[in-house]
């Protein structure tokens, strides 16, 4: 049960509880194992978005090994028989994706091939912006798709931490009217830093409590401050409950932090992490392998830890990159910015298998793959079938969904 508590009471009481080593009852719901909705949402489902920043080479991630054109275009980078984990007679994972292969074999992985968008832009920044805002490639949209989802769907009890990014910078995808979405690289770093004297967190909190001054802008600032303080408090509480302050390894792997915060029951709907850089213009072979290895083992470990904690049913993970890379390798043993690339969906609710058509290596647009699935179809699928919300209101266009979830 949620008890109506004013912010002021909440801040006071939680401070007391924190010192007594207890948390308010409504913050410890999952101990009972009963699924309760996330504050501000109608159910307890979580989405984790993994961004492979820099442009992941899709063709050396999911290899069309039956196609000679692939090897002709990649004389030194093409992955030979001994480097493949075969998915079927045509496609194979890069052998560094053992973790992903395990997820695939266990029926928890959906692979969407050839994902992109019309009139692709090959600039990192611009293409990333298109993925974050879910705009057409010639339109400039101020808000992000996740921000619009929050603006459309959150009820009044949602807090800023409805969205959490474990990144250095706020993802543009979070941009929206109501300012949902918080960003930190380490939970303990999210918050106001007290001074050495009497400038303590309690006094800072008291100073900035909402006072209804009659100056609406000041009231807005104080209200947002109180929310931010509560968010940072709740993030730390969740981190404490998950007990990973002592877990130094968590610092390097954002998915460990995410797993901890889910376990610690943070009232968060969407987590966002970024890995990379996958921008392999030169000497790609070793670099790309180790990036994939890291990504794959981290994701597999994440899924295992969710299962261990009995949380897997609540969590869906979606993986994307702002573009794939060119079909032909370049003279520096690397690949340049390209277009379409695979996306992955992982979770116990994913209908496993391969979606979309194989990349056609002979029908190219200026040396680049032609996309077959619009990335916004995948967003629409997640919005409709995972979050059970009207995707058109958020994506501002109607996109077909894929039977990926259920």
């Amino acid at each position: 049960m949620h008890i109506a508590v004013s912010r002021r009471q909440f801040l006071k009481s939680s401070a007391i509880f924190a010192t007594a080593g207890m948390a308010p009852a409504f913050l410890t719901r999952s101990a009972s194992g009963v699924a309760l909705p996330i504050n501000g949402f109608k159910d307890d489902r979580v989405l984790v978005v993994i961004q492979l920043s820099g442009g992941n080479d899709g063709l050396n991630t999911v290899v069309p090994y039956s196609n000679d054109v692939y090897y002709q275009n990649r004389p030194s980078l093409g992955l030979k028989e001994d480097r493949l984990l075969k998915l079927n007679d045509d496609l194979a994972f890069n052998d560094k994706l053992e973790g992903l292969m395990r997820l695939y074999d266990d029926g928890k992985l959906g692979l969407v091939q050839n994902v992109g968008y019309p009139n692709p832009d090959r600039s990192h920044f611009r293409s990333m912006e298109i993925w974050h805002t879910a705009s057409d490639s010639d339109a400039f949209v101020g808000s992000g798709w996740i921000g619009r989802y929050f603006d459309n769907t959150c009820s009044g009890s949602a807090r800023p931490q409805a969205g959490v990014a474990i990144t250095n910078e706020r993802p543009q995808a979070f941009d929206g009217e109501e300012g949902f979405g918080v960003v930190f690289d380490r939970p303990e770093r999210f918050g106001w830093r007290p001074g050495k004297g009497g400038d303590t967190l309690d006094r800072f909190t008291e100073l900035n409590e909402e006072k209804r001054t009659g100056n609406p802008t000041l009231d807005f600032l104080q209200r947002t401050t109180s929310n931010a303080i509560m968010s940072s408090h709740e993030v730390r509480e969740a981190a404490d409950r998950a007990g990973f302050e002592s877990n130094t390894r968590g610092r390097n792997d954002p998915l460990r932090t995410v797993a901890g915060l889910i376990k610690g029951d943070l009232a968060t709907r969407i987590y966002y992490v970024s890995m990379g850089s996958f921008d392999t213009h030169a000497g790609q072979a070793g670099k790309h392998d180790s990036l994939l290895q890291q990504f794959s083992s981290s994701l597999a470990e994440f899924q295992e830890s969710l299962e261990r904690e009995g949380l897997a049913d609540r969590v869906l993970t979606m993986v994307f990159s702002e573009f794939g890379r060119r079909v032909g390798q370049n003279a520096s043993g690397g690949t340049d910015h390209g277009t379409a690339a695979p996306m992955f969906l992982v979770g116990s609710n994913v209908r496993p298998g391969l979606y979309g058509a194989m990349p056609d290596l002979t029908d190219l647009d200026n040396g680049d793959l032609k996309y077959k699935v619009d990335f916004r179809s995948v967003y629409a699928t997640v919005l409709e079938d995972w979050f059970e919300t009207d995707s058109k209101a958020i994506l501002q266009q109607q996109f077909d969904t894929l039977p990926l979830i259920g």
Binding site: L218, S232, S332
Partner: protein, 502 residues
């Protein structure tokens, strides 16, 4: 016809509060010494000094690193004898240099905002940068970014029509809104649309046909690697109908017709009022300022004079009601605390984190401003920033010592590269020394007056007093307000919601 809202402020209403308000809004806040002087000067002289900035000396310094942009021919020369790998290497090198150059531009501008004797010029330049937005994300050539910065500064309080033409003919805008890709066979409507929707008239004052026809008129507005060129071979010489007039119009004609529309003057007057005073101005303000602008053929000065002298500008609706933009927050913070030489890497990164990355507005609309600056992260970042800025940093002597130590261990040139002129530490003694107080309460009151545009409640004041007392429990004796107590007060004051307002 004239509205009381635009009547000049009564002479005796000029005091420290109104003077501070003018300095905050028409600039980025100024050191205490200057606002005290401007208060005593009286309103007319103060306004003259601030608004007619041409009399103030300004060095004509340019950013150190604005790369030349080679022409197509020069580029061909450079690449001619290279193989694919060589070309790629050269391209990557070029991209790195470009990014460095843009970063330099950002730091240079922030430095200028802080050090300038003409704060109003920089404040206006920032307005125009957001108004005629172009982004270095698309316009990657540093020279083109520098050119638009120079244009908005030179024309900051000049003539709005001249500014619009110069911006429209800048290689940056021609690239950003695609007019250089526009031809009579395939006219591109991007520039034509935004010119009317965002830059001059506002949405709803023209038709889709007006956009189509003016896009045809602007064909031929093009650029080479460094400047505007008119390409007759791309221009559509057929007849066009625009805003009810028909003729063989070109881009200049379209701009003439746009500036014949009364709504154009009112639109920009409303935008300037929103930037300097408050959002959603009364219709009388917009029409009054618009009329002044029209009467002076779009010369901005008389209208700006009227704006900054008006009663409405000094009303309670205006004073202390604006959320500081990141630039305002940072520059005002530095100037109020006497941080003359902040670490620019930190400041540039703070601007980005707070959502006002210079030379990179989020889209063609520029920055929305107001509440859009605020979210949980941005707010906490704002509250943490002052302490970071005044945190003790290594002094020059410390650095020399450290350098000597390191030189023995590592290559000295590498150290120099990593730490080019680290800024001097914040001078706490100089800062606190400018105030007179004897008790904790007096100390807090002068600091409050110095930092805040809106008053603290008695409860908030009590909280800070309690914080100051917490460290040393003994009763204060006169003149013994310790450094740590002063810092505690300053830290909390600059970590307040009130501090976000100006």
């Amino acid at each position: 016809m004239s509205t009381p809202l635009l009547e000049p402020l009564e002479r005796d209403a000029w005091d420290a509060r109104t003077a501070r308000h003018l300095l905050n809004r028409a600039g980025f806040g100024v050191p205490r010494s200057r606002w005290e002087r401007l208060t005593s000067l009286g309103m007319e002289s103060a306004m003259r000094e601030l608004l007619y900035y041409e009399t103030q000396f300004e060095s004509s310094s340019k950013p150190r690193l604005v790369l030349d942009n080679p022409s197509v021919q020069e580029r061909r020369e450079l690449y001619r004898d290279l193989d694919e790998e060589g070309r790629r290497a050269l391209q990557n090198e070029r991209r790195r240099e470009e990014r460095k150059s843009i970063a330099e531009l950002k730091g240079w501008w922030l430095d200028r905002m802080l050090a300038t004797k003409r704060p109003f010029q920089e404040k206006l330049a920032l307005f125009w940068h957001g108004h005629f937005a172009t982004s270095a994300q698309k316009v990657t050539v540093p020279l083109h970014n520098w050119q638009v910065n120079d244009i908005v500064r030179r024309n900051a309080s000049g003539n709005f029509k001249t500014l619009a033409i110069e911006m429209g003919q800048s290689p940056a805008m021609l690239d950003y809104l695609d007019n250089r890709r526009s031809t009579k066979r395939k006219p591109n409507e991007n520039w034509a649309r935004e010119l009317m929707e965002l830059f001059t008239m506002g949405v709803g004052n023209y038709s889709e046909d007006d956009i189509k026809n003016s896009a045809r008129a602007f064909t031929g507005w093009n650029s080479d690697h460094e400047k505007f060129v008119y390409r007759e071979d791309l221009h559509d010489f057929e007849s066009k109908t625009f805003m009810g007039r028909t003729g063989n119009f070109d881009g200049w004609d379209i701009i003439d017709i746009i500036f014949d529309q009364p709504v154009t003057a009112e639109y920009i007057a409303g935008e300037l009022w929103t930037y300097f005073a408050y959002a959603e101005p009364e219709p009388e303000i917009v029409s009054g300022l618009g009329a002044t602008l029209r009467d002076h053929d779009y010369d901005l000065k008389p209208m700006l004079d009227q704006l900054f002298a008006s009663r409405a500008f000094y009303s309670d609706k205006a004073i202390g009601t604006q959320i500081k933009s990141p630039a305002q927050l940072i520059i005002q913070l530095c100037s109020e605390l006497g941080v003359d030489d902040p670490p620019y890497a930190l400041v540039v990164s703070a601007m980005r984190q707070l959502g006002q990355d210079l030379f990179n507005p989020p889209n063609v609309k520029g920055w929305d401003g107001g509440k859009a600056w605020i979210n949980a992260n941005a707010l906490l970042y704002r509250y943490n920033l002052p302490a970071t800025l005044i945190a003790p940093r290594a002094t020059r002597d410390d650095r020399m010592q450290q350098k000597k130590k390191n030189a023995a261990k590592a290559d000295e040139s590498m150290m120099a590269e990593r730490n080019p002129n680290r800024p001097a530490p914040w001078d706490a003694d100089a800062f606190f020394g400018q105030f007179e107080f004897t008790t904790v309460g007096e100390c807090l009151d002068v600091l409050t007056e110095h930092c805040l545009s809106v008053p603290l409640s008695p409860a908030q004041r009590a909280t800070i007093i309690e914080a100051m007392d917490a460290r040393e429990r003994t009763r204060m004796t006169p003149n013994s307000v310790s450094g740590s107590r002063m810092r505690t007060a300053l830290h909390l004051l600059t970590s307040s919601a009130e501090y976000q307002l100006c």
